[in-house]
Homo-oligomer: 343 residues x 2
DNA sequence: TCAAGGTGCTAATACGAATTATCAGCGAGA
DNA sequence: TCTCGCTGATAATTCGTATTAGCACCTTGA
């Protein structure tokens, strides 16, 4: 509507989209032939003379024609377009770069695959987050979709699963009416390893400071903590993130902070020597830590997660068999805040 | 192909989409009527009896029908896809965030417009940069395109102009066989203003340290410097960016550094008190300046440039008249490195 | 009783690409 | 001469929605 009415009014009218019809006219063949050439259909019942094929291809090259992705979609074909859905803007105005590292990996792989990335910025924002499903959702423009977010709406996930839409979540997700394909980080394993390490350094009373529930990423850390505590035969307490005093009063010698920021806050409060602090993940915001402390913790392989998410999606689209739920190991960061205990 | 084969293989085959035809059959009207009801078209020549309308709406409510957005866009001839072309990855692995601030504005506006952003990551890399035009270029997947880069290939620009492809450059560009639509920053004006300010502080011998040519952004700064020097009646020298010694030997009391990094390097070399330094633009890399110096200079309105680029593109697509070449003012940063001269 | 005018809807077509059925032309073999 | 088989293409249809032209039916008014 916008284009057609307005364009005709223009003297220097923007040229209409180039279509197969145009290519057909240019080369003196039919639209069908152009389509056949484009899709390399020279098998079985359909034949195109090599000379004709070349003529058509040349016209396509010269004109820069590309099939309209919308029309292709309607005809149920693939577009070499990967959708990327995020619940918040991909390019945040603030200094939070939560999505960025994942997208580095995604873009890198997309480039290698020769696919384009469609950022689904058209999704309307309801209650502060974008919605996947809404009247006019354009997910299907893409061949498949990558989902990123701290938490994904489970209703929407369930619907994606039920619809059989090809997608992969970056970050582990619980089942949603069926298994959810994901590439996550092994928070549980990394946390467990850190608990064992603490125990090895003499700590016998540990605190998990955080929610420990809600998003899968929290639950996983907590689960790893619980496993580690049990395996090492030490005492583990769970305290909420907002009550630093309770943590200090607990008598624990090592604190595992679910959020990096909480670890920083705690360190600022107690000073460097009294308490061992482990942070379970990297800052999602660039809070330039004034003290420059290197916290003991682990590194989330965000870039690899993004890249492998695309691998899994590709496998799904191609109908290949792959492990559709992957947990990548986190590299432990020795840091300086987990020390031998003096008690 | 890929998708469909998969689906048919499914036992729990996805039930065919509900269409207007289905609704039509359910209510005993025609598909056209359903469409008309859906679009609330009761104006002028088209009329629907209130009773019929209600019957159709009821059926739609009962069945949960939602129009296929893809088919809608095909009929509307408007894909609502904005291409974003960058010569390097949008999400760089390093700490260079050259593109980021522009994209904040672009995404913000795309969201408001209800458009999706297509990152043209499929463009093949030749000699370290992506190419717009190549066999199989997919630019035309998008309704129009935003181009970002320090320098754009002028041949490619010329071809875009010649083809009449709707696009807007972020950053001023010289004509390329025709005017290039752009939203740039007024480097010349900002630089000139800073030169005048320096002159007002008693500086009579100034140096422009940089290339002063090549990319439009360099040429513009240089041009502004030249204009400012002429207007203020002071002496202006032009020296290359790599020869700090020459700058120091020049006898100038104020140096205008084309690149932020050069200004930083110079400051490190001479110490804070000997020389006034003005940097003509912000760092494109996050070099955490160890001294924390706030350089005198100007702020490039990157976010606004991105947003307005989308505005111009929208205007072009809609055939509206707009200023298709815009230069946004840069806000001057007083900083601490341009001081009254003691000579 | 018949044109005029209004009402309520439908048939037909377009959008751009993919696909299937079919057709024209030609040479060879019977 | 007729038919078979092969080649190289095209016409027609499909996908789901939007839109326009126009048809059938009704009510007025003279």
């Amino acid at each position: 509507m916008r284009i057609s009415t307005d364009r005709t009014a223009h003297v220097t009218a923007t040229p209409r989209r180039l279509t197969q019809r145009d290519i057909a006219r240019m080369t003196g063949v039919s639209q069908a032939t152009v389509s056949l050439v484009l899709n390399g259909r020279s098998d079985g019942d359909v034949r195109i003379a090599p000379e004709t094929r070349e003529r058509v291809l040349q016209a396509i090259r010269d004109s820069g024609y590309v099939a309209d992705p919308i029309a292709r979609r309607l005809a149920a074909r693939d577009n070499r377009i990967i959708g990327v859905f995020t619940y918040e803007p991909v390019f945040p105005a603030g200094n939070s770069d939560f999505y960025h590292p994942f997208l580095v990996g995604i873009e890198e792989r997309a480039e290698a695959l020769g696919s384009d990335l469609l950022l689904l910025t058209s999704a309307p924002v309801v209650a502060g987050r974008r919605r996947i499903f809404h009247e006019g959702n354009r997910l299907r423009l893409a061949d498949g979709c990558i989902l990123i977010g701290r938490t994904l709406d489970s209703d929407e996930l369930a619907r994606l699963v039920a619809d059989g839409f090809p997608f992969v979540s970056v970050g582990r997700r619980d089942d949603a009416g069926g298994p959810v394909p994901f590439v996550g980080a092994d928070y549980a394993g990394a946390t467990e390893a850190l608990v064992r390490r603490a125990a090895g350094l003499g700590h016998t009373r540990l605190v998990y400071m955080g929610q420990g529930e809600g998003p899968e990423s929290h639950a996983d850390r907590k689960a790893g903590f619980v496993r580690g505590v049990a395996a090492a035969g030490v005492t583990g307490l769970h305290l909420p993130p907002d009550d630093l005093d309770a943590v200090l009063d607990s008598g624990a010698t090592a604190v595992f902070a679910e959020e990096h920021g909480d670890g920083v806050a705690l360190a600022a409060k107690v000073g460097p020597h009294d308490l061992s602090i482990v942070t379970l993940g990297q800052p999602t915001r660039h809070v330039t830590d004034p003290t420059g402390t290197q916290f003991t913790g682990f590194e989330i392989p965000r870039r690899a997660m993004g890249a492998q998410a695309l691998d899994v999606l590709t496998a799904i689209l191609d109908g290949q068999k792959t492990q559709r739920q992957r947990l990548l190991p986190c590299e432990l960061i020795p840091g300086t805040t987990l020390k031998e205990t003096h008690t």
